[in-house]
């Protein structure tokens, strides 16, 4: 079922902007601002806005790529990965290693990496990261096996 949109009349926003922001935060949904009963604007959290911007940029790149492919100017993925300079031309380097030129395909993917998780991991020691691996893997196996069990149960029921 579609979610009921979060709507605030502009008069309410004017009277109590803090409450509107609180509502935005607690619902984690965009808030539609209405004026004279019609939608006039949308209020987004900064995170949501940044995510949407990144998605828009990625879509724009994909569209540009599709145009280039259609014009016969595309590159094979294997070439793009192995010979980024062929695709990108510019010799921008990755910090920390002067021998690694940036790759446009990887750069596009990098925009969606959740760096907060990485920062959190970097704060941990190597043994702590390894302990996380063990517990996450156990959890993943547990979940996968629960799914296998469920599928087997459904199959058994169907065969009766």
């Amino acid at each position: 079922m579609a979610k009921v949109p979060n709507i605030i009349p502009v008069t309410d926003l004017r009277q109590d902007a803090a409450a509107a922001l609180k509502r935005l935060k607690s619902s984690q949904q965009p808030v539609v601002i209405t004026q004279r009963g019609r939608p006039a604007a949308v209020l987004l959290s900064v995170e949501e806005y940044e995510r949407a911007e990144q998605e828009r940029q990625l879509l724009r790149r994909i569209a540009r790529g599709e145009k280039e492919v259609a014009a016969g100017r595309g590159f094979d993925l294997a070439v793009a990965l192995k010979e980024p300079e062929t695709v990108h031309g510019a010799e921008r380097k990755i910090p920390g290693d002067p021998e690694l030129p940036r790759n446009p395909v990887i750069e596009a993917y990098k925009k969606d990496i959740d760096r907060t998780l990485l920062v959190e991991n970097l704060r941990k020691t190597v043994p702590e990261r390894m302990a996380d691996l063990v517990s996450h893997e156990r959890f993943a196996v547990e979940m996968r096996n629960a799914m296998i069990k469920r599928e087997a149960k459904i199959k058994r029921k169907r065969s009766r």
């Binding site: 990755i94 690694l100 990887i106 998780l117 970097l122 390894m130």
Partner: protein
Amino acid sequence: MTEALSVTEFQKIIRTLSDAHVEFIVVGGVAAIAHGSARLTRDVDVVYSRTDANIRSLVNALEHRQPYLRGAPKGLPFTWDAETIRMGLNFTLTTSLGPIDLLGEVTGGGGYDALRPHAVMLEVFGRQCLVLDLPWLIKVKRAAGRPKDIEAIAELEALLEIRDSGRF
């Protein structure tokens, strides 16, 4: 019916190899996690030294762990001995401890001796182990050119950027 998955004994794999004095460098997903990756892996990838002595150590380390070629049909005449390892190079194995990839060489990085200068000593599961450093981990993953690695490479490069920004 699909067989239930069993948990990979990461700790036992690393300790088994280390305690048998196998010369190896951890690469792949476990190395990425050691450097801070948030991705999950199910196997242990190591580049092993191809010296006769090391091959013997490797054979001894895994001989009681039922090593067998991963994905191969059951009943193949696969013998886990020094001769088999000498005749081959890279082995993707199932073992009673979980999947292990034993690599004599990796694309873009070469063998143990070539990678050794680019490995760092880290404490992994209570053992001091050589782990391929982050720039070289990226380099070999890029050289492999597998589309499935793109996201992982992007994450590793993001890690390198964060690390080199001086915050860690």
